[in-house]
Symmetry: C2
Subunit: 232 residues, 2 copies
DNA sequence: CTCCAAAGGTATGTCTACGAGCCATTGACG
DNA sequence: CGTCAATGGCTCGTAGACATACCTTTGGAG
């Protein structure tokens, strides 16, 4: 029997209760920029169906987001729950998990996604989407950079056509962002990052998996080094 | 708003109820060979703690495994729940999920794991473990090959030192195995597979990430082609 | 101006899962 | 040969999550 392997398989079956998990998901969709400020979340009934959770639980989760000013709800037809402009609490000051764990998984998933995206056949819509996200990220302000950056990286994962891979990247990015929220984001880094994004997307659109992978690896190494430096 | 990205983020928060999830985990530990036939599962109380689930739920899960002859329980000190030799139902005839989804995620995770394992610093215990799993797989019979193969691949993931990556590989392997259970496993494939394992492990032990990745990619391509052929 | 579809808001009974405790059994050790 | 620690077996009350149903608000369509 492999003692060590048990740790991976006999880990907790559920991350938290249904309420906490739901809050986490909605937070992800906001923090990763999937639903931008001013935009509307899906209706409570739709969320309940999509998330596989009762509407009561969805409402409790939304309520907790309201109390922290992340969203506002309006009644009536054409109402809904809307994302607010300001994100009040950038980081709840969480404990750093295993840094190596997060960075290793992120590197594996994202370099793999870049390679797979470049190796697959992209439709016109996906090509346009990638270019649009690249443009958004490169023209974004410092304040909203993290969100635009995440949207770009998520778009790359989506381009692989694997929903599981996309979900895994989203999850991994949330964990990485929790750490990144604790270190400064500087203009020079941002410019460098944009250049790297450019190279990654170009390689993907050109169908060059090897270059896409390498470019993504270099891109991730940058923040990985920063994190290792700041958080030691 | 990126419509497509919502599909990844607004997926169900929980795979099933606590009972089903627990059964699934215990099945994984048996099917992937983490707990071999004749060996004992952790005690009910320990499983309850590790899996973050009540002991009642653990017992219900174990009971359902008992009814399918996967395990037997003995009372008293030095008792416990033991894995049976024969696995009665190789495949419950499940529906094939998205083949592309499974194979893409598996390729990303496992090639990434091989590369990371080769790039990291391996302790003596881990090196011995890898060699032992390789030996086990190469000398195994056809009947137990799938299990020994999984243990080897899990050991590679463990060698990265990332628990999350190991867990992801385990999950991904279960999904892939469900598909592989529907296609024949032939002696020639097995010999070829063993040669590839040899090359993968050698590269990892030699600290050659590029070769490790490539060898793993070729290894996975084999079964991927088989699957695509058989399941179209 | 009226209607009504679609959204959020509320209430209730049911069922799952949990925690906590106790019982029954077993085999090694003194 | 008795003790006892650790295991599986069992019960019961509580809390979380559920499905379902209905109410209230809103603004565009007719």
């Amino acid at each position: 029997m492999v003692e060590h392997a048990q740790e991976a398989l006999f880990r907790p079956v559920r991350a938290g209760n249904a309420f906490e998990e739901t809050v986490e998901r909605l937070m992800q969709s906001i923090r990763l920029g999937v639903v931008a400020p001013g935009e509307r979340l899906p209706s409570e009934r739709e969320l309940a169906t999509r998330l596989g959770v009762s509407r009561v639980t969805v409402r409790e989760a939304i309520r907790s987001l309201q109390e922290n000013d992340y969203v506002e709800s309006r009644r009536g037809r054409y109402g809904g729950t809307f994302v607010n402009e300001v994100i009040p609490k950038p980081a709840p000051g969480k404990e750093f998990g295993d840094l190596h764990d997060v960075l290793t998984l992120r590197a594996v998933l994202e370099t793999g996604a870049a390679e797979a995206a470049a190796g697959g056949s992209l439709g016109p819509a996906e090509r346009r989407g990638l270019r649009a996200r690249l443009e958004e990220a490169s023209t974004s302000s410092l304040a909203e950079y993290r969100r635009k950056d995440s949207r770009l990286h998520l778009a790359i994962a989506e381009a692989t056509g694997s929903a599981s891979l996309t979900a895994a990247v989203a999850e991994s990015r949330m964990r990485a962002n929790e750490l990144l929220d604790h270190i400064p984001l500087l203009e020079p880094n941002l410019a460098h990052s944009n250049a790297q994004h450019e190279r990654i997307i170009t390689s993907i659109l050109d169908g060059d998996p090897a270059t896409a992978r390498q470019a993504m690896a270099e891109h991730l190494d940058g923040t990985a080094s920063l994190l290792r430096g700041f958080l030691v």
